[in-house]
């Protein structure tokens, strides 16, 4: 077994070798600019881009004309939010989102607030799901956009997008979703789900980094976004810049593979994830974060009370995982997503995210269980909080000197 074992597939995924194979001809031999209309080099590149556009569209139930290629989900989120705000500002200035969104959405919203937008940041319920009544209560005549992510990157919770879309549309607002973690992992259908704009990324689904797409609905309603990148008028004028042909070919191939294989991947991974989770829950004082029913098949986020996440990760050096603790940053602030769920800071500091992927094996999961259990046990032996807990001391009764 190669060490460390990669269990951070929510951060990025290894590229599928079949994707690389599809991309390779487009670097040296078929290097043309897809916008070159008057020679074969351009035509070959354009054909490849058109084919990839169909592959992407097919995965999410869209029409190929509705796919705008970008540099990734961060750009797609920015284009959707800023582009809609600019395009529809005569209709209103209100945007609704959630506190558990990715920074690409939250910081784009903060930027728009400076430009006169009013943004409502809804808090999730303790299980991470949106409270639909609060959404309805927040809607107004000025609401132009509701932006709620499909599946959460930290806890894997899947939001009820269909219901959210319905509510947005009842009030005449558009519905956008950052589906970076969901597309290619679970079935996503822009028609059935009522999605008007959707951001996706290649490198979260075994494709290359640096390429993604924004779905922009063309019918019922026809949605438009103001370009944030001006230039040659590529991508129906919504995103200028010479297309990243090899990257786009890779994204297309990754989407095709996901469409064909995601069901079997999901079944296999959810079994492995449940095995991992149930084994780790055998440890005392360990808790799963987020709703366990409505969530992505490959993600588990677990808090191990009385041990600190970063220290824990060091004892788990054979595993590449991610922690909700941010002790490395000057702020010492733990994960804002976990805090939004109402987790106390100490529990947020004690959390580990496991992200399984297409190439994760059962033997690797078994090893991960063993390593994690040993690490938690080792660190609890070192932990004064664990000792106090075992002695029955209420930690909240102690006056801690915050530093």
């Amino acid at each position: 077994m190669d060490l460390p074992i990669y269990l951070d597939n929510n951060a990025t995924t290894p590229m599928d070798p079949r994707v690389l194979e599809a991309m390779l001809p487009y670097f040296v031999q078929k290097f043309g600019n897809s916008a070159s209309r008057n020679h074969a080099f351009g035509w070959v590149a354009e054909e490849a881009v058109d084919y990839a556009r169909e592959q992407v569209a097919q995965l999410i139930g869209a029409n190929e004309k509705e796919i705008i290629f970008t540099s990734g989900a961060t750009e797609s989120d920015n284009l959707a939010l800023k582009g809609v705000f600019e395009m529809y500002q005569e209709k209103g200035n209100h945007i609704i989102t959630m506190t558990t969104e990715h920074k690409a959405v939250l910081d784009a919203c903060k930027h728009l607030e400076k430009l006169g937008a009013r943004v409502t940041y809804l808090s999730p319920q303790p299980d991470g799901l949106i409270n639909l009544e609060e959404l309805v209560a927040a809607m107004s005549q000025e609401t132009i956009l509701v932006s709620i992510m499909y599946g959460n990157n930290e806890i894997g919770v899947i939001q009820p997008v269909k219901e959210i879309a319905k509510i947005a549309h009842q009030f005449g607002a558009l519905f956008m979703t950052d589906a970076t973690q969901a597309v290619g992992k679970i079935p996503v259908d822009v028609i059935a789900d009522g999605i008007d704009l959707l951001a996706l990324s290649a490198h979260k689904m075994y494709g290359p980094k640096g390429v993604g797409a924004l779905y922009v609905r063309r019918k019922n309603p026809r949605v438009k976004v103001t370009a944030q990148m001006d230039g040659g008028g590529h991508e129906r004028g919504m995103r200028s810049g010479t297309l990243n042909v090899p990257g786009i070919v890779g994204l297309g191939k990754a989407c095709e593979l996901a469409r064909l294989e995601m069901q079997q991947d999901a079944e296999r991974l959810s079994k492995l994830r449940d095995k991992l989770e149930n084994s780790l829950l055998e440890l005392e004082e360990s808790y799963v974060n987020g709703n366990r029913e409505h969530r992505l098949p490959h993600t588990a986020n677990i808090s191990f009370k009385y041990v600190e996440g970063e220290g824990l990760m060091m004892a788990m050096k054979d595993l590449a995982v991610s922690s909700g603790s941010a002790c490395t940053s000057a702020s010492l602030e733990p994960s804002y997503v976990l805090k939004s769920l109402g987790l106390s800071d100490d529990l947020a500091h004690s959390s580990i995210r496991f992200g399984l992927g297409r190439f994760t094996t059962e033997a690797e999961v078994d090893r991960a269980i063993e390593v994690t259990k040993n690490a938690v046990t080792h660190l609890r032996e070192l932990s004064p909080l664990w000792e106090m807990f075992k002695e029955g001391i209420d930690l909240d009764s102690i006056e801690w000197a915050e530093h």
């Binding site: 220290g311 060091m314 002790c327 010492l332 106390s344 800071d345 100490d346 070192l382 932990s383 102690i398």
Partner: protein, 137 residues
């Protein structure tokens, strides 16, 4: 972030993990930090009749650098007089463990824990606590 070999050594083989009898008049206990900040250190010293620290134990909730800082502190404390122990500076720990700037707070916490343990011992034995005027870097 890469940890130094010394941090990894102390983290993997922590010295002097454990608990001393905090009700004993010879034992001073320092508990510093806060769970919500991601670091709690408990450092204990046992002092003999000559004011020399003959044993030191720690337990730490925190990152690898916090664990290493407190482990190193217990090593340094053993055999030192109380007066010499008061002179341990957080920057000595930073230097010994090659802590990066984002981890300096771990060494500060270890120094605070030493001082808190000494003062607990002093107060228990009828001496006034020593107030540190030091401003940390």
């Amino acid at each position: 972030m890469a940890y130094s070999d010394k941090v990894i050594d102390h983290y993997s083989n922590p010295r002097n993990v454990g608990t001393l009898d905090k009700s004993s008049s010879k034992v001073g206990t320092g508990l510093v930090g806060a769970p919500e900040c991601g670091d709690v250190m408990r450092l204990q010293i046992e002092v003999d009749e000559n004011n020399v620290i003959k044993d030191a134990k720690f337990k730490t909730f925190g990152c690898g650098s916090a664990i290493a800082s407190s482990s190193l502190a217990t090593e340094w404390l053993k055999g030192k007089s109380i007066d010499d122990a008061m002179k341990i500076d957080n920057m000595d720990i930073v230097e010994e463990l090659a802590l990066p700037p984002v981890k300096i707070h771990c060494s500060v916490l270890a120094e605070d824990a030493i001082k808190a343990a000494i003062n607990d011992y002093r107060v228990k034995n009828g001496f006034a606590p020593i107030v540190s005027e030091k401003v940390h870097h």
